[in-house]
């Protein structure tokens, strides 16, 4: 997963990576050559008492050091460019892909999960990339180069590496096998603790009302003890890992001096080479440790890559056809022809064989119980979902052969949960029509019964709105959300039970004004409250995905049993008389 993702996103940086790799090779070779020079200083300078040689070699060493450092700095430059660049590219592609998702795709992942995938997961990959880009080149070169040089310096002595390297590798392998699963379980336990705390914050009223503080505390205590135990185990393994690696490293040095010392005393190796050899062995083992550091980040990055790829590989279920036909005229006519809808894999249809048409200039209402399919019906019009069979026609053209953007431009949508974007009142109202004048905004606010409170807000139209609209009340949010749809002046209005937070008086005034405000367009209202919809030109009563009644309030009272039942329950027997 990770390699595939990285291969795809590193391809555009091929040139930079070649530069980066060559710089790293140069840097590593330079670093490998330095101990050699040191050996020369000892063999040819110190032992022979040649001060001039010491000085000139010293100068050369400094020069080499400078070159190595320059290589390293430039390499870091390109590594950062490539890693951060690839991260930004992945982020952009994930974001752009999500923009094409239909409601079903969104539900499949869940909003919260998509946010995490778009941000934290990519950050993990980026972090890994930054490390890997440098280490993955340096470590092997250093390891191989170190071995080659060590062998050339002292072939006999190098047999030591046959012991030291496998011992190190074996130990690291054992630690990884032990730590990685623990690491994973620790992450799960951190998530668990965060979940318990999150529930305590969001559910504070319920917890206190039901006097459950103590049981919540014990639930937390359990999770806390669990996490502490695992974290302790992981950290104790780590506490062991570093000293053991140091011991392997240091004992290798001791062994080098012991066996090397015999060779030196036999005269088969110059003593200066011993010092160089010590440096090489240090470097080889360092390279192994570096590789381990990258390897530790690997499982987390791989998990993140998998989650990111899932998003990138999801083809949106709702797409434009190759040669779309857009309506020539926006009349506002909406027609359902034998429309059925069922979720994939489910046997029971949510909507079954619906046929009706909604005329421009008319207000139609849809009423029915929870789960009767009201919202689903509404969602078929802007193609949040596609009908399973039959066709939905807007402006005389099947929605599936229209360009989605064109279709959407005909629709004013007010969702059940009013959501405002951070910015100002005006920036929210202009969402669908950026060029709307202030006068047009005030007019829409007037219709939506939002004029007075917006005028009273400090700054009026320029009053700030927090993300989600959390700084205005639920009812104000709904009214602003309605005004936003009005500013757009579409030919079809969809109101999805968006009057629920309004009190009856405001609701009544709003509906009165709405008639004039939406003149000429089709208005479709989904509602729970009878009072909201009883003035509609046509009411469609849904029950279990089927139309059980269609007509005006008066007609339905006499002809439709389920409707009458609703009216009686909400308004009393008098209203139905």
């Amino acid at each position: 997963m990770l390699t595939r993702l990285l291969r795809a996103y590193l391809r555009p940086y091929g040139g930079q990576i070649v530069i980066l790799a060559s710089l790293l090779v140069a840097q590593t070779l330079g670093n490998l050559y330095l101990p050699n020079l040191n050996a020369d200083i000892i063999n040819n300078g110190v032992i022979k008492g040649n001060l001039h040689y010491i000085l000139s070699t010293g100068e050369f060493m400094l020069l080499l050091t400078l070159l190595v450092s320059i290589c390293a700095v430039v390499a870091v430059y390109w590594a950062s460019r490539v890693a951060m660049g690839a991260g930004a590219d992945i982020r952009r592609d994930v974001f752009t892909r999500v923009q094409t998702f239909s409601a079903r795709d969104m539900n499949h992942f869940g909003t919260a999960s998509l946010i995490t995938r778009n941000t934290n997961d990519i950050q993990q990959i980026q972090l890994f990339l930054q490390m890997a880009l440098t280490m993955m080149v340096i470590a092997p070169i250093m390891c191989v180069g170190g071995i080659v040089l060590a062998v050339s310096e002292g072939p006999t002595l190098s047999t030591l590496l046959l012991v030291a390297v496998p011992v190190m590798a074996l130990f690291i392998g054992v630690v990884m096998v032990k730590v990685v699963p623990q690491f994973r379980s620790m992450q799960i336990k951190i998530d668990r603790i965060n979940q318990v705390l999150r529930e305590q914050i969001t559910g504070v009223r319920v917890i206190r009302a039901f006097v459950r503080n103590e049981s919540e505390a014990s639930r937390f205590e359990g999770a806390n003890a669990d996490l502490t135990g695992t974290a302790l185990r992981v950290n104790r393994i780590f506490a062991l890992a570093l000293p053991v690696m140091m011991v392997i490293l240091n004992l290798s040095s001791v062994a080098v001096v012991w066996f090397g010392g015999r060779l030196v005393s036999e005269g088969s190796m110059p003593i200066g080479n011993l010092t160089a050899f010590l440096s090489y062995i240090l470097q080889i083992l360092m390279a192994v440790m570096m590789a381990v550091m990258v390897a530790i980040l690997l499982p987390r990055a791989a998990a993140s890559a998998e989650r990111v790829e899932q998003v990138l590989e999801t083809a949106p279920v709702v797409t434009d056809v190759s040669s779309p036909t857009n309506p020539t005229e926006r009349t506002g006519l909406v027609r359902f022809e034998n429309v059925s809808f069922s979720y994939p894999g489910s046997e029971r249809p949510v909507l079954a064989d619906l046929t009706f048409s909604l005329e421009p200039g008319q207000t139609s209402a849809i009423i029915g119980g929870t789960g009767s399919g009201k919202t689903t019906l509404l969602n078929l019009i802007p193609r949040f979902f596609d009908a399973t069979t039959g066709q939905v026609v807007v402006n005389n053209v099947d929605v599936r052969i229209q360009e989605q953007e064109f279709l959407w431009s005909s629709i004013g949508f007010v969702p059940q949960a009013a959501y405002l974007f951070s910015g100002t009142v005006a920036s929210n109202l202009r969402l669908g029509r950026p060029e709307a004048t202030d006068a047009a905004l005030w007019q829409a606010l007037e219709v939506a019964q939002a004029h007075d409170f917006v005028a009273a807000m400090p700054g009026g139209l320029d009053a700030p709105i927090d993300q989600g609209g959390t700084n205005v009340s639920g009812g104000q949010r709904q009214r602003l959300s309605i005004a936003r749809a009005l500013v757009k002046q579409p030919s079809v209005y969809l109101f999805d039970d968006c009057f629920s937070a309004l009190d009856a008086a405001t609701d009544a005034r709003l509906r009165g004004a709405l008639k004039a405000g939406t003149r000429g367009a089709s208005v479709i209202i989904v509602a729970q409250r009878v009072s909201t919809i009883m003035n509609a030109d046509r009411i469609i009563v849904l029950d279990d995905g089927r139309i059980v009644g269609m007509g005006t309030h008066g007609e339905l009272l006499t002809s439709c049993g389920p409707y009458r039942e609703i009216v009686v329950s909400q308004l009393g027997e008098d209203a139905a008389a």
Partner: protein, 653 residues
């Protein structure tokens, strides 16, 4: 139009890692260290183990150097004719004009004609191996001890956080964004744990190592030590210079991450709106702009901090060359042994590593302290006033009545904004009180006071004749059964969610409650029935179903006083009819407070409280209030009369 200036507030709880600006880092550090006090014995032990470990570790290269000396002595000694004394050999060399070698030998411990003493070499190397083993053993013990210390400290801190949550007044949750509180108790704690886990132990080792290595270098050769010491300030200055710049960029990176996270969160949450309002392209443009900014900032941060390592290496290498050259001179002139130079080179390597480490640990520490500050700020938040010790009250079930009396109650959310002034209400057991009023009239305020989520400012509330202040909050709340506006579910089975108010309830009781709330048949259609596990947002249920479950929860809790807060606003009307019947049964013999928009449900209430703009404007029964011709009258007419007229009109036409 842009998606809006994502301001400082967003960055505050949008960023995964807090900014690096802290207000009182020193005080926070002191407080953090104070939390180590209960562990002081262990910390001292760890410190001692650290000193021992570093002590052994820094002795290693010196001993290895001695081994080199043994070797070198042997090689040089072998080249000289046997039988001579060292002095004779030196004289001989000087006579041959090899003054330099002669002076080198003068500083060495050699016997002419004798080669490498393998036994001596073995002894020295054995010692080195032993020293390294001891060093590692102590290092392990130190790590082991510190792992326990940090985990216990963090576990304690997490426990304090959780206890704090239960002691905070509801006012705190209402006035602080949930996202920010959450970020403090999760992200900041995580960040702090990482800092303590990785930073503290290593920081101690790094500082000790620098001290130890410095000591060893001074011991071997003060002159070479001076050379190395000169490079320390250089390394420090370079590190500080770079770190200062990179920190600014890191801060920018986290700020920008916060901004981008905010934009992503906002766009994904309002996904359908963005699509239908034709904002997809504009949003992608805006995202690309922010994304590029994040790229620039993070590139600069990564690059700058990445420069530290090569710079340190460069300085280390200068040091290395200086030691090789100077050391070479000194050995050649006989003042220093070859082994000493070799040891020195190893020391200089050991020296620069802790300095680089300290640089990165300081970075981490600063981020950790910023988090600690936010955590302490949370822990310092004002708590609910303490309660009197409970003894007075035998529990609501025992007294069984359920009368509530409010006398001259005064309450304000903000001290200078009058809200509820001099409010009186007497509710006899079994009566129903309806609270009505337009949107945002403050109906939940009454609930907040009744269940004592907020404390009243003046007057008193009596539960079954006993003043609230003589009861504990838990005792007050135990008397109330609630169906709240937000249908909160926790991650767990449906059974556990229904049984939340009475964990000891039997399965039969759970099913009975579910049946009463008309949710039993729905639950049975789920594959796992009552064992079906809900996720945290209960996203596998519709809002109506969630509401029914909350009602079942209240049924089961079976308290003497009931609060229904717009309980049925999301339930379909046909189910609502059934619920209303069940509620009526439940209300029998119970006192109830109902908040609802449906005037039909309110008409039969014993008392109606009409609220507007936070104040109680009218109080009385249906007929009295209609007679007042006030707000209730107009509220009632706007819905009911219109409905009735239309109904009659249409029906008649």
């Amino acid at each position: 139009m842009t998606m809006g200036p994502m301001g400082a507030m967003r960055a505050m709880h949008g960023a995964a890692v807090p900014g690096l600006m802290s207000r009182d880092p020193r005080g926070t550090l002191r407080r953090l260290l104070a939390r180590l006090r209960p562990e002081r014995v262990k910390v001292l032990l760890a410190l001692f183990l650290g000193v021992a470990s570093v002590g052994f570790m820094v002795m290693g290269p010196k001993i290895l150097g001695n081994a080199t000396n043994v070797l070198f002595n042997g090689i040089v000694g072998k080249q000289l004719s046997p039988g001579m004394t060292k002095e004779q050999a030196i004289e001989l060399l000087k006579a041959h004009g090899q003054g330099q070698i002669a002076s080198m030998i003068s500083g060495m411990n050699i016997t002419p004609g004798v080669g490498v003493n393998i036994n001596e070499l073995g002894r020295v190397l054995g010692l080195a191996a032993l020293v390294y083993l001891f060093g590692a053993a102590f290092s392990y013990l130190q790590g082991f001890t510190m792992a326990g210390v940090t985990q216990r400290v963090m576990s304690g801190l997490r426990r304090d956080i959780e206890e704090k949550l239960s002691r905070l007044p509801l006012r705190y949750f209402d006035s602080h964004p949930h996202g920010d509180v959450l970020s403090r108790v999760t992200n900041d704690i995580d960040n702090l744990t990482t800092t303590l886990q990785q930073g503290l132990s290593q920081l101690i080792t790094s500082v000790l190592t620098i001290a130890g290595v410095m000591g060893m270098m001074l011991w071997i050769s003060p002159l070479l030590a001076v050379v190395s010491v000169v490079t320390i300030p250089l390394a420090l200055v370079v590190t500080l210079l770079i770190a200062k710049r990179s920190q600014v960029q890191f801060a920018a990176q986290w700020d920008q991450t916060g901004t981008l996270n905010g934009l992503v969160e906002e766009t994904h949450t309002g996904h359908q709106l963005v699509q239908v309002f034709g904002r997809s392209r504009a949003t992608i443009d805006e995202f690309s702009r922010q994304n590029t900014r994040l790229y620039e900032a993070s590139f600069r941060a990564q690059f700058l901090s990445g420069v530290i390592q090569p710079s340190m290496q460069f300085i280390a290498n200068i040091n290395y060359v200086a030691i090789a050259v100077l050391g070479g001179y000194r050995v050649a002139s006989g003042v220093l042994s070859l082994g000493a130079v070799q040891a020195f080179i190893q020391y200089s390597r050991q020296f620069t590593m802790p300095i680089t480490q300290i640089a990165s640990q300081m970075n981490m520490l600063q981020s950790g302290i910023a988090s600690a500050e936010r955590v302490f700020e949370f822990l310092d938040a004002e708590e609910e006033p303490p309660e009197l010790p409970s003894a007075l009250y035998a529990g609501p079930q025992a007294s069984g009545a359920g009368s509530v009396r409010l006398e001259n109650v005064r309450f304000r959310y903000e001290p200078d904004k009058p809200l509820i002034e001099d409010f009186n209400l007497d509710v006899a057991p079994g009566q129903t009180v309806a609270i009505v009023g337009p949107t945002g009239a403050g109906k939940t305020t009454i609930v907040n006071l009744l269940v004592r989520f907020y404390e009243i400012d003046a007057g008193r509330i009596l539960l079954n004749g006993i003043d609230y202040r003589d009861l504990t909050r838990d005792e007050v709340r135990s008397a109330f059964g609630m169906v709240l506006q937000d249908t909160w579910m926790f991650a767990g089975s449906i059974r556990d969610n229904i049984g939340y108010g009475r964990p000891e309830a039997s399965d039969a009781e759970i099913v009975a409650a579910a049946k009463a709330a008309y949710v039993d048949s729905f639950v049975r259609t789920l594959p796992d029935g009552y064992a079906t596990v809900l996720d945290e947002e209960a996203s596998n249920l519709s809002s109506g179903q969630k509401q029914l479950l909350t009602i079942a929860r209240a049924f089961l809790a079976n308290q003497s006083i009931l609060i229904l807060d717009e309980a049925t606003s999301n339930v379909d009307t046909r189910t609502e009819v059934l619920i209303q019947q069940a509620m009526a049964r439940l209300r029998e013999g119970r006192t109830s407070f109902v908040i609802a928009h449906r005037l039909s449900t309110i008409r039969n209430a014993d008392t109606i409280i009409v609220m507007d703009a936070g104040h109680i404007v009218e109080q009385g029964d249906h007929h009295e209030l209609l007679g007042h011709r006030g707000l209730y009258y107009s509220l009632y007419n706007s819905q009911f009369i219109e409905a009735a007229n239309n109904g009659n009109h249409r029906a008649g036409s």
